[in-house]
C-alpha cells in the first residue's frame, strides 16, 4: 500500500539532495573564485576600501556552503527519523531551500555596491533568509523530538 507521507519524504529527500549537492558545487566554486581574487591581488576585492565587500562575499561563500550541507543532511535524514505531518514537512523543506538561496544571495548582493562601510540594499535578503532558516531548523528539531505512535 502506498504511504503518501513516505512518498513525500522520498520526493523531498531527492529534491534536497539535488539542490544541496548543486549548491555545494556552486558555493565551493565561489570559494575558489574568491581565492583567485586573493591570488591575483584584485583591489576590487582586497583593497581596504572594499573591506565590506570582502567580508560579505566571504560570508556568502561560507553560508552557501554550510546551508548546502544542511540541505544534504536534511535529505539524508528526512527518510530516516522524525515524526512528520505532510504540512510540517513541506513547510520545513521550503524554509530550508529558501534559506539556502536567500542568505548567500543577500550577502553576495550586499557586497556588490557597498558604500562607506554599509552593504547595498540586497543585504536585506539576509534577515529574511535567516528567519526562514530558523523556522526550518525549528521544524526539523520539533519533528525529531516528537515520538511516533509506534514508540
Amino acid at each position: 500500500m502506498n504511504d503518501p507521507l513516505a512518498d513525500l519524504r522520498q520526493r523531498l529527500a531527492r529534491r534536497h539532495h539535488l539542490l544541496g549537492w548543486w549548491a555545494l558545487l556552486i558555493f565551493l566554486s565561489l570559494g575558489i573564485g574568491l581565492e583567485t581574487l586573493h591570488g591575483f591581488k584584485i583591489g576590487f576585492y582586497l583593497d581596504r576600501a572594499n573591506e565590506v565587500r570582502r567580508l560579505l562575499w566571504t560570508l556568502a561563500h561560507a553560508h552557501g556552503t554550510l546551508l548546502a550541507l544542511v540541505n544534504i543532511a536534511f535529505a539524508l535524514g528526512v527518510t530516516q527519523f522524525g515524526v512528520w505531518s505532510e504540512r510540517r514537512l513541506k513547510v520545513a523543506s521550503f524554509f530550508l531551500i529558501d534559506a539556502l538561496v536567500l542568505l548567500p544571495a543577500g550577502f553576495f548582493l550586499g557586497g556588490i555596491g557597498p558604500s562607506e562601510g554599509d552593504p547595498s540594499l540586497g543585504v536585506l535578503l539576509v534577515p529574511i533568509g535567516a528567519l526562514f532558516l530558523l523556522a526550518g531548523v525549528g521544524l526539523v528539531a520539533w519533528s525529531a523530538t516528537l515520538k511516533s505512535k509506534q514508540e
Partner: protein
C-alpha cells in the same frame, strides 16, 4: 525612491516567490496571510527605524557637538582613513613612541660649539641629555658681567612629544606644570642628521644654547595648527601669569575633524541603519558632518586657511579662560580671527610694540604682501588675480587633495604639470612656447616656475609661492624679493631680465623700472647674496641647488663665488643653503668637508680649503654679469665692496 519603498518592494517580491511554496504546505489562504503578516512586520520594523531616525540636517549648534577620534571614523570610512593615515597632517604632533620617533637615538652624540648632547633610548622611552637650561642662563648672566663658570651641567630630559615628521622632527619635554618645552637639538630628517635649533630657523646665531627654546611652549605655539580641537587651558596666577597648562586636544595631529567638524552627532545619528540608507538615497550627503567639497569655495578654503593663513584671534570670540579654538570647519573663519598681511599689521592687531632692532619687521611677508614663509599659503592664493577674478572657480582643492596617494605635497594627479593651470587657461596649451619664450618641453615652460617660483622659506628649504604672479624685476630692485627669472638665471643681472621681460606681449617693449648700474651689470643672485638681507639671501642661496637653475646658469662658477659669500653670513641657514648648492652641483666629496654649524674658526678653515679647491679651476667661459678678474676668478674687490654695503637687520622666521 526612499529606502522604505525599496524595502517594501524587496519584501513583496520575496513574498510573491515564497507564497506558492507556502501554499503547497499550508494552503493558499494561510500562505497569503502569513506572507502579508511577514511583510507588514518586517516593513513596519523598518518604518519604525526610519521614524526614529533624525532628519538629514546639520547639528543645531555645532559648538555643542562632541569629538570622536579618527579610529571611530575608520570603522565606516576605512579608505578615507587610510589615505589620511598616509599624510604628514596626521603626524604633525605625536607621542614619543618608537614608531613615531625619526631621530637617531642609538646612543648618538651631537656636538655644537663644544657642547655635547647625548641622544639615548631606554626601552620605549627616549632621552636627550644636554646642557641644563638654568645653568646656561646663569652662565650667560655671569658671562655678561665678565665672570666665568665651571664645566657645563647637563640635564637628562625625557622626550614626551614630537612635532613634525616630514622635514624636521622637534622634541618636547613635559615638565611638572604641563608645559611641553622644546628641546634645543632637533633632527633634520632630510639630511638624516642632528642639528642645533640655531641652525634650523632663519635667524642670527645667538650665544645662549637654549635661546630658541627658552619661553617656548608647545602649548602656546604649536598647539593650534598641529592638532585637532585644541584647548590651551592655561593655569593662571593671581596676576594673570601662566603657571602651567592643562592642555587638551580632540586628537594629536591634524585629523578628520579638523576638516569635517566634530563627529559625535554624526556617529550617533548613523547608528540607525535606516538613516544611513536615507542619506545614501538622498544623494546630497549627510549634513551632520562637514563635507568641504559641498561648501561654497570661500568657506572651503577657510578650512585650510585656519592653519595655512595668517590669523590673529578675535579675543572677544574666544573663551578667555580655556583659550579653546572656536572655529569649526565650514564656519566663517573671519568671525573668530583677524586676517593680516604683514607683520606690522599683526603687531598692531596684537597691540605689540615693534622693537627697533628687528627692523625690517617682516620675517613673514615680502613688501608686496606675498608670504615669505609656509603656513601662509592661503594669503598668497587670496592675493592672486587667479583667485580674485576666478569667480569661485579656483580653490585650494583645485590642485590639492587630502585623500590622495601623494603625501608630500598632497597634489591631485597631474597637478605637478601645466595641467594645473590648464584647468582655467586651456588656451595656453597650444601656444606654450610662444607664451613662455622657452622650449615647450623645458623647465622654462613649466607654468609654476615663472608664476609660482620658490620665494617662500621654511624648514631648511624654499617652497613655491602660492601668490600666482607675473614675473617682474620691480620687487627685486625695491624690496629684495628675488624674481622668478633670476631664480633660474642665477648668472644674469636684473637689467638683463628686465630687457627680456620687456619683449613679452602686452609689455611696453622698454624697461620701466629704474635700476642701478650694479643691478644692470652684476648677476642679481650675486648681488642679493652679497648685500641683500637674510630673507633674500636665503631664497637665492637655495636656488643654487635647483637642478633647473644649474642647467640654465651652468654650475662651474658656483664654487668660487659661494665659498667667498657663504661663510661671511651670520645666518646659519644661509650658510647651509649655499653649501647645499655646492653639494648638489659638485657632489658631497668635492664640496666637503664643511659644517655650517661648526665654530667660526673651524668653518673659516674649511671654507679656505674649499676655496682653494674651486679656485684651481678658473672660469673660462664668457659670463658678462659675473664680477670676474681677467684670470677667471671672482673679483674680491667688488665682492668685498658689496659685502660691506650689506643690509643685514635682525629678522627671524620661526618656521
Amino acid at each position: 525612491m526612499t529606502a522604505l519603498v525599496w524595502v517594501l518592494a524587496l519584501l513583496a517580491v520575496t513574498a510573491i516567490l515564497v507564497v506558492p511554496q507556502l501554499a503547497w504546505g499550508i494552503g493558499r489562504v494561510r500562505a497569503v496571510v502569513a506572507a502579508v503578516l511577514a511583510v507588514v512586520l518586517l516593513g513596519g520594523g523598518w518604518w519604525l527605524l526610519e521614524r526614529a531616525a533624525l532628519p538629514l540636517a546639520p547639528p543645531a549648534e555645532w559648538s555643542a557637538v562632541g569629538s570622536v577620534s579618527s579610529e571611530t571614523c575608520a570603522k565606516c570610512h576605512p579608505d578615507h582613513y587610510d589615505s589620511w593615515h598616509r599624510t604628514y597632517h596626521r603626524t604633525m604632533t605625536r607621542d614619543a613612541t618608537p614608531e613615531n620617533v625619526k631621530g637617531d637615538f642609538d646612543n648618538a652624540v651631537y656636538e655644537y660649539l663644544g657642547q655635547k648632547t647625548w641622544l639615548t633610548r631606554e626601552g620605549d622611552t627616549f632621552f636627550m641629555k644636554t646642557v641644563d637650561a638654568d645653568w646656561e642662563l646663569r652662565r650667560a648672566q655671569i658671562a655678561g658681567r665678565g665672570g666665568q663658570t665651571g664645566p657645563p651641567q647637563n640635564a637628562k630630559l625625557r622626550i614626551d612629544r614630537l612635532v613634525g615628521s616630514h622635514w624636521v622632527q622637534e622634541y618636547m619635554h613635559r615638565d611638572g606644570t604641563g608645559k611641553f618645552n622644546r628641546l634645543p637639538v632637533l633632527y633634520h630628517i632630510v639630511e638624516k642628521r642632528w642639528v642645533h635649533s640655531h641652525g634650523a630657523f632663519l635667524a642670527p646665531e645667538p650665544s645662549d644654547f637654549w635661546a630658541k627654546c627658552r619661553g617656548f611652549a608647545w602649548n602656546d605655539t604649536c598647539l593650534y595648527c598641529h592638532n585637532t580641537g585644541p584647548t590651551k587651558n592655561p593655569i593662571q596666577g593671581s596676576r594673570g601669569e601662566t603657571l602651567g597648562y592643562k592642555t587638551e586636544v580632540a586628537e594629536l595631529g591634524i585629523s578628520c575633524e579638523a576638516c569635517h567638524g566634530p563627529g559625535a552627532e554624526h556617529v550617533s545619528l548613523n547608528q540607525n541603519p535606516a538613516r544611513r540608507f536615507q542619506a545614501r538615497f538622498a544623494g546630497n550627503g549627510d549634513p551632520s558632518v562637514v563635507h568641504p567639497e559641498r561648501l561654497p569655495v570661500h568657506r572651503r578654503d577657510e578650512i585650510c586657511a585656519r592653519c595655512h593663513g595668517a590669523l590673529v584671534p578675535k579675543n572677544e570670540m574666544w573663551n578667555k579662560r580655556t583659550h579653546h579654538d572656536p572655529f569649526i570647519a565650514g564656519q566663517e573663519l573671519g568671525k573668530f580671527n583677524h586676517f593680516f598681511h604683514s607683520e606690522a599689521e599683526q603687531h598692531k592687531l596684537l597691540a605689540m610694540n615693534i622693537r627697533p632692532e628687528d627692523e625690517p619687521v617682516d620675517g613673514r611677508f615680502w613688501a608686496d604682501g606675498t608670504p615669505l614663509t609656509t603656513a601662509l599659503e592661503y594669503n598668497g592664493m587670496a592675493l592672486s588675480a587667479c583667485y580674485e577674478k576666478g569667480h569661485g572657480k579656483m580653490s585650494c582643492l583645485s590642485c590639492h587633495q587630502m585623500h590622495g596617494d601623494d603625501p608630500n605635497f598632497m597634489l591631485k594627479p597631474g597637478m605637478k604639470t601645466n595641467d594645473a593651470c590648464y584647468q582655467c587657461h586651456d588656451d595656453y596649451r597650444d601656444q606654450l612656447a610662444s607664451h613662455s619664450r622657452h622650449a615647450a618641453d623645458s623647465s622654462g615652460s613649466l607654468c609654476y616656475n615663472c608664476h609660482m617660483p620658490h620665494q617662500v622659506y621654511s624648514l631648511f628649504t624654499t617652497h613655491r609661492s602660492h601668490r600666482i604672479q607675473i614675473p617682474d624685476v620691480k620687487e627685486t630692485s625695491s624690496a629684495g624679493k628675488p624674481n622668478a627669472c633670476n631664480l633660474c638665471h642665477l648668472d644674469k643681472s636684473l637689467g638683463w631680465t628686465q630687457e627680456q621681460l620687456a619683449r613679452w606681449p602686452n609689455r611696453s617693449g622698454k624697461p620701466v623700472t629704474k635700476l642701478s648700474e650694479e643691478e644692470k651689470t652684476i648677476s642679481s643672485a650675486v648681488l642679493l647674496l652679497a648685500r641683500g638681507d637674510a630673507r633674500s639671501r636665503a631664497i637665492v642661496a637655495a636656488a643654487f641647488s635647483n637642478p633647473d637653475a644649474q642647467r640654465a646658469s651652468g654650475s662651474d662658477w658656483f664654487g668660487p663665488f659661494l665659498t667667498r659669500l657663504m661663510d661671511e653670513d651670520r645666518y646659519p641657514i644661509v650658510r647651509y643653503l649655499a653649501h647645499r648648492g655646492l653639494r648638489t652641483a659638485h657632489g658631497e666629496a668635492e664640496a666637503g668637508p664643511y659644517d655650517y654649524l661648526a665654530a667660526a674658526a673651524e668653518r673659516a678653515a674649511q671654507t679656505r680649503a674649499l676655496r682653494q679647491r674651486f679656485d684651481a679651476r678658473p672660469i673660462e667661459r664668457k659670463m658678462p654679469f659675473l664680477p670676474l678678474t681677467p684670470g677667471g676668478l671672482p673679483d674680491d674687490a667688488i665682492l668685498n665692496r658689496l659685502l660691506k654695503s650689506r643690509h643685514d637687520p635682525n629678522l627671524t622666521i620661526n618656521e
